[in-house]
Subunit: 345 residues, 2 copies
Amino acid sequence: MASIDDVARHAGVSTATVSRVLNGKNTVSTTTAEKVLAAVNALDYVMSSSASGLASGRTKNIGVVVPELTRWYFTNVVEGIASGLLHHGYDLTVYSLRDGGSARRSVFEQSLLRQRVDAFIAISQELTNDELAKLRALNKPLVGVGGPLPGVHTLSIDDVAVSTEATQHLINLGHTRIAHISGTVEFEADFHLPTNRRSGYEAALTAAGIPIPHDLQAAADFTIPGGYGATQQLLTLGDRRPTAIFVSSDEMAIGSILAIREAGLTVGRDVSVVGIDNYELSDYFGLTTVAQYPQDQGRQAVELLMNVLQPGRPVSTNLITPLTTELLVRSSTGPAPSTDRKTRT
Amino acid sequence: MASIDDVARHAGVSTATVSRVLNGKNTVSTTTAEKVLAAVNALDYVMSSSASGLASGRTKNIGVVVPELTRWYFTNVVEGIASGLLHHGYDLTVYSLRDGGSARRSVFEQSLLRQRVDAFIAISQELTNDELAKLRALNKPLVGVGGPLPGVHTLSIDDVAVSTEATQHLINLGHTRIAHISGTVEFEADFHLPTNRRSGYEAALTAAGIPIPHDLQAAADFTIPGGYGATQQLLTLGDRRPTAIFVSSDEMAIGSILAIREAGLTVGRDVSVVGIDNYELSDYFGLTTVAQYPQDQGRQAVELLMNVLQPGRPVSTNLITPLTTELLVRSSTGPAPSTDRKTRT
DNA sequence: GTGAAAGCGCTAACAC
DNA sequence: GTGTTAGCGCTTTCAC
């Protein structure tokens, strides 16, 4: 493993010059730089991140704190981050909190403090004041993805607006008996996502003068089986069943579709379904949804960090960056059945 | 950010002693060790990984090279690795090859060489000889998960045996017209997984004296929609359609189930389906499958590495560690329809 | 059982 | 535009 001294010797320059070339300082003459680069190639030299990190205080490594790695949203954000960082020559160290309590403590009290990274990205993770304080004490840039962290620059979709849009789509199609499947309370920890999405739903109904149907509310755990079960409940209402359902996530919405099919009804005709996400299977199931783009969100988070990390780049001052979403209308939503539905059933 | 000197001063000892305590060298008296630990707590000291890494050559960080982060198998292996490493006080740096060509090159020629990690885990990744040589040149331990790498200790299920078991299950139920949906050729790069699983299928048929039905072969891309499409093809055969399908992965098998349902047939009665994996939705769909346990595989890979990394731990000598699998019989498989099926249809 | 001191391989003043 | 040199914060001989 060649060291910077080997390169310097091989190129006939000082180590300082080698360092300057490798760090892109443009105070080196083109000819010298070429000699250095030639030596670097000849020796297959790659600098030691430990040595560089110790001397400069910069590790060229970013830490990502994520609730778990196996859900669609999280993995896609992480994949986007990985892709973004690679472009900037940064590495990615992942801290999964999946194991819960003691693991979480060991991450916040040990791992994160090892000065292994230059900055952090926290994904969909409501942090305790104590944890936030620990992160801040490190005095390293921190950006959030997926929900607002107090005092932290965050990328987030507007959950309320997105839910209003989805519900409004159903209202526009003439639906009035619109059910809602939200997340169960344990997901409140993720930035009150269930509550925010319910608020958007209620706002749309209220604005349209439609009373909120309290008999048409259900909740599940953001999985396909969960959405399936919740929908089965809603379908037991017989004639009083909804003609449309706004579901808080696409995975649950796919569960709804499966339940509706199984009940012998036609999705998009007897019962319309709209979700949020544009999950990987949503297109396949013809699910109308408000799409969000987690991989782009990850890439954007990286750009945000690079702006902070690389002096000279513009730093935006507002703490919340709204993210792109888009209503994708597919076959799972259609006009409300005509009022003679009861007799047809 | 307290340094080791601060701790040493606070405890009234030398930095060498602090280092010894923190690294678990048992050449320090209990009383001194306690003083040191007290100082560490008082100052909230956590050592700098760069400094420690530079001085010792050990980073307490493991690199994972993964084809992408968004597929069930990969994310679960990575989650298992993360969990295992956390227990050992190691961090996890992820290198996703998802972006393809140039990204892959930059990973192998730059990122991996930065001496940021003590060892590597390569997941389901057939490496070129060049890449393998680069990794070996680093002289760092390397273990593979998901397929055999030449000369590398690898954790792998026996794809042939597992496929034979799945097919045998169908044969035992009396099926003889058994179709196979395999992976398309582009997945051959993952250790010839399509070929191996097909071999197991053919071996089971041959052993049972059943000729291989060449009209009942299809291939797809390991996704639900892919399996759905392949199955639709198989069902166009009318009376000559299969009574059972062995599908190379659960995701595709779920696509099969959806296609069979949509054709108005009953899964497990008209057509049986068996897959491989025990994907997160397999239970929900009642899919019979040969389960594998990617999170455990990740944890096992970590233990293997720790044995190599921490001298004194036993190092196993055989290069391939077979992994646990288990046939889970659910409702998607049932006895072959009686031969009057044609008339019933 | 403990301390002194020489690095580990870089970076960043500071000189020239 | 380039070289000299003093650290960065640890680990690890080598003494004692």
